[in-house]
Subunit: 306 residues, 2 copies
């Protein structure tokens, strides 16, 4: 199954024509998640071909406007399009009150249920899980309560070498155990080794979303060994004072976190509007960590097996 | 002085790539007003060259999202750009609570003061006035409390024919009265007629914004003789049932209002996303009223003397 990240907005608080406010669309094993929803996200979804009604879970990192001001419009559009399926909204608790006030002011209701999960009560926990993937909420270090999300596509069971099993007359009754990695002893006392009749399944793949956050080594154990890390890099080192004052990170700091956490690939985003492009970010980060890119709106990245 | 309307968004609840949600920028005698502020308005302002910091007054018609979901982002951006001048926000009262909740959730404040004027207490009144223009709040007929705005550029005093006055030796002391249309009797008993030494000044010009609204003849006396009327036309007559059910208007109904109110020119907007273009609206309206156009995003219209 595919596991991909589509960048709907790679900018920060001041939107530009090149970089819209933060939002990401994640496809993971047939599930469709939205992380953050800055102003204009619904138009970015249209632009990049994201089907609105596929989204069943929305995760909001924190309540600075550039991460959620597009949510109200998106939820309204889903209603106007006649959605009936429930949406689960994972977000800091004050958002529930804001949404209620907006609905009340418009004398309206949605055609579908919104299940609201207050994430401050769930830090460190798996907040979403099904047979194929899970989402864990992790704490970030910002001016207001802010949360990152780690999405894991579960490892798949071993794949049966059906041809060999048939040739050797292995009973179908043993297949489940063999695929589960277990050896089987037959009624006749014969041992059938899982390794002889199965090939390894796809290993776990993982993606960590960390925006917005100051440099924090506390993040390292929470995201250790993920395949792909998206880490904010609002500034470059020349503005490290600004990064400290606003509780954001520089590109070098993001790379230091990636290195310590032993991730496979680093994506940098949330660039301040003062930067025309990401060249300085890329140069600075790549001096610390090899596999790094600065993302752009519209980029779709396939999460590889690390 | 110029009096112009720039359409920042001509669409309705479902934004499209062609028509963004409602917003208009009005320049009137050196003043700069924003009417409504749908999602993405700040980007439309950038696209069409509207200078953010010039806006001192914002008027919101009603609290359906397509008319105000861009306000939070715009106000945040003004803060990030270091604005210090007060903004006066004219809107239905529940917006004040929503804004407070959003600011509280972000643990923030703005760098400038917002003076909030609850328009439901001001219906029929002049809510803004200075030496050169005024704004009147008028009631519209929609599903929730909704308000239109009539902007008037005041008539200018008569213009002195300076060459003739000098040639005839008219004392400077009389100029103010003559420009004010008054005749003067000199100490010598001579009558100096204003008409002989002045030309007529620019007459009043006026613009009425009416969106969203069902067909309502009660509007007619409130907007009678305005030079330009912007009236919503969400539907065409084939969907008149939808218009009635949703308390919107058809293009024909908007034209009927324009005709009864004896306006000079009619602009139609707020088109439903189901229409690819405005051809059907234009055809239908022009059968009732001659001077009509369907607006597009980015259109700038100079309000003429009717």
């Amino acid at each position: 199954m595919s596991f991909s990240v589509t960048i709907l907005g790679s900018g920060s608080a001041l939107p530009t024509s090149r970089r819209k406010p933060t939002s990401q669309y994640i496809q993971c094993a047939g599930r469709h998640f939205l992380i953050d929803c800055g102003e204009g996200t619904q138009l970015q979804m249209r632009k990049y071909g994201v089907k609105f009604q596929r989204i069943d879970q929305i995760f909001i990192s924190h309540l600075h406007g550039d991460h959620y001001f597009g949510l109200f419009g998106l939820l309204s559009t889903l209603h106007l399009l006649g959605r009936e399926k429930k949406i689960t909204l994972y977000a800091p608790s004050p958002l529930e009150h804001i949404l209620d006030a907006i609905l009340k002011a418009g004398n309206g209701h949605f055609s579908y249920e919104i299940e609201f999960i207050a994430v401050e009560d769930k830090v460190g926990e798996v907040i979403y899980e099904d047979a194929k993937c899970s989402v864990t909420c992790i704490p970030l270090l910002h001016k207001i309560p802010t949360f990152g999300y780690v999405i894991r596509q579960k490892a798949k069971s071993r794949v049966l070498n059906a041809e060999k099993a048939e040739r050797d007359g292995i009973s179908v009754a043993y297949f489940a155990k063999l695929k589960n990695g277990e050896d089987v002893i037959t009624n006749e006392g014969q041992t059938i080794c899982s390794d002889d009749y199965t090939l390894p399944g796809e290993p776990e793949r993982s993606y960590a979303y960390c925006s917005d956050t100051a440099y924090s080594e506390k993040l390292v154990p929470l995201i250790r060994n993920v395949d792909v890390l998206y880490h904010e890099a609002t500034f470059v080192d020349a503005l490290q004072d600004r990064a400290v004052a606003t509780r954001h990170s520089t590109a070098r700091e993001a790379a230091l976190i990636a290195k310590q956490a032993n991730v496979h690939h680093l994506m940098l985003g949330h660039l301040s509007a003062r930067y025309d492009d990401g060249k300085a970010h890329l140069k600075e980060a790549s001096e610390v960590f090899g596999s790094v890119e600065v993302v752009e709106d519209g980029l779709s990245y396939l999460v590889p097996q690390g």
